[in-house]
Symmetry: C2
Subunit: 224 residues, 2 copies
């Protein structure tokens, strides 16, 4: 049990750490991972370099925490979408797709940050572990939805993991497109492509996918 003063101190300390992590994300997005220094983060956070190292014991620790935060934020997005999706396997799959292209996670800044860490992952086991866990968790959720969907369709569920790889792989690849070719690719276009693929993968439910896409479009541009 902590008294109010102590708790408020803790909350404040934690809030400060969040501010710093947010600044680190902005810095990585703006100047890149390689050029992100304590100075750039401090500037973005509006505080001194020394204060960064008061809240995090080193630059490395700060960056690891930043990656963890980005990863957790993404996980929360698709997990909460899944929680709201009900029990229909297709609805769950669509929720996962929708979450992957929600503005919160699918914007150029977030994708750039994500890929900045991907780029360093091979040479930093800690990054690799966090990125890998993230990917794996989402892949498991997708596989589960695919399996349920196949079973609901009366098909053998053996193909679920391959199906999940096709969906997840395509999403990841389209993210790269959005990062590298922002003129050609955006989250709406990308989601359209994934839904196209989904219709081919589950032709029997094409109508349901149409309906979901229409509802999705309506949600962002309410009818006149």
């Amino acid at each position: 049990m902590v008294d109010r003063a102590e708790r408020s101190k803790w909350v404040s300390k934690d809030a400060r750490r969040r501010d710093i992590v947010a600044a680190a994300i902005d810095s990585v997005a703006r100047v890149g991972f390689a050029d992100t220094t304590l100075a750039t983060v401090a500037r973005e956070a509006g505080m001194s370099q020394a204060n960064l190292l008061f809240h995090f014991k080193s630059k490395d620790a700060l960056l690891v925490e930043t990656l963890r935060h980005v990863s957790a934020e993404f996980a929360e997005t698709w997990q909460s979408a899944l929680a709201k999706a009900g029990t229909d396997p297709l609805a769950r799959l669509l929720a996962l797709v929708g979450a992957s292209f929600s503005p919160k996670v699918c914007n150029r800044k977030s994708i750039a940050v994500w890929h900045a860490f991907y780029g360093e992952a091979k040479s930093r086991p800690q990054y690799l572990k966090i990125c890998g866990a993230n990917d794996h968790e989402r892949y498991e959720a997708t596989t589960q939805a695919c399996r349920d969907l196949l079973l609901a369709e009366g098909k053998p569920p053996d193909g679920a993991s391959d199906m999940a790889r096709m969906i997840e792989g395509l999403i990841d690849g389209l993210w790269v497109d959005i990062l590298i070719s922002p003129d050609m690719a955006n989250r709406f276009e990308a989601q359209r492509i994934v839904l196209l693929q989904l219709r081919i993968l589950v032709p029997d439910r094409a109508a349901d996918i149409d309906a979901w896409e229409a509802a999705n479009a309506r949600r962002r541009a309410p009818a006149p």
Copy 2:
């Protein structure tokens, strides 16, 4: 017209630059982009830092040249595969897929280097331009093959660009998997997934895809 001595000097100079670029690639793959310094490259190349700057006017210029080299190497791989593929649109599409998963370009070191530059691309316009041009060129080639394939099948070619996005996107996404989850994904598995997708996209030619896959497997493990 250059005399032999002068040409040999030029060739030697060019060869030296290639050595340095190769060392830069090794360094980026081993210690990452952020930790790649003139010292790490010089060490990898077995020469002094000063010599690096004799051949390239700056570290930045060296890294740009390195990205160009990686990009050109990849382009040559799929272009040469395409040149050998004949005229059948499906064969050309399969050539592009095969090139994307050939050991020359689809190994963890190359993918790591590639993504290291991707990670920095948003904050470095020069990198973005090179990466974007690379992606675009390959996308155009794939779209062309898809269009020809659809026409050959007697279908409207309107869906060619979407089809190309599905294929290219999936390939890019699976590359990420190989980088991040090397235990789960490798180039054989990844190619298998893309071929699975291709069979769904072009069901009429499934048998041809089977045959290509079988021939491909035979090529790497000759019959007893």
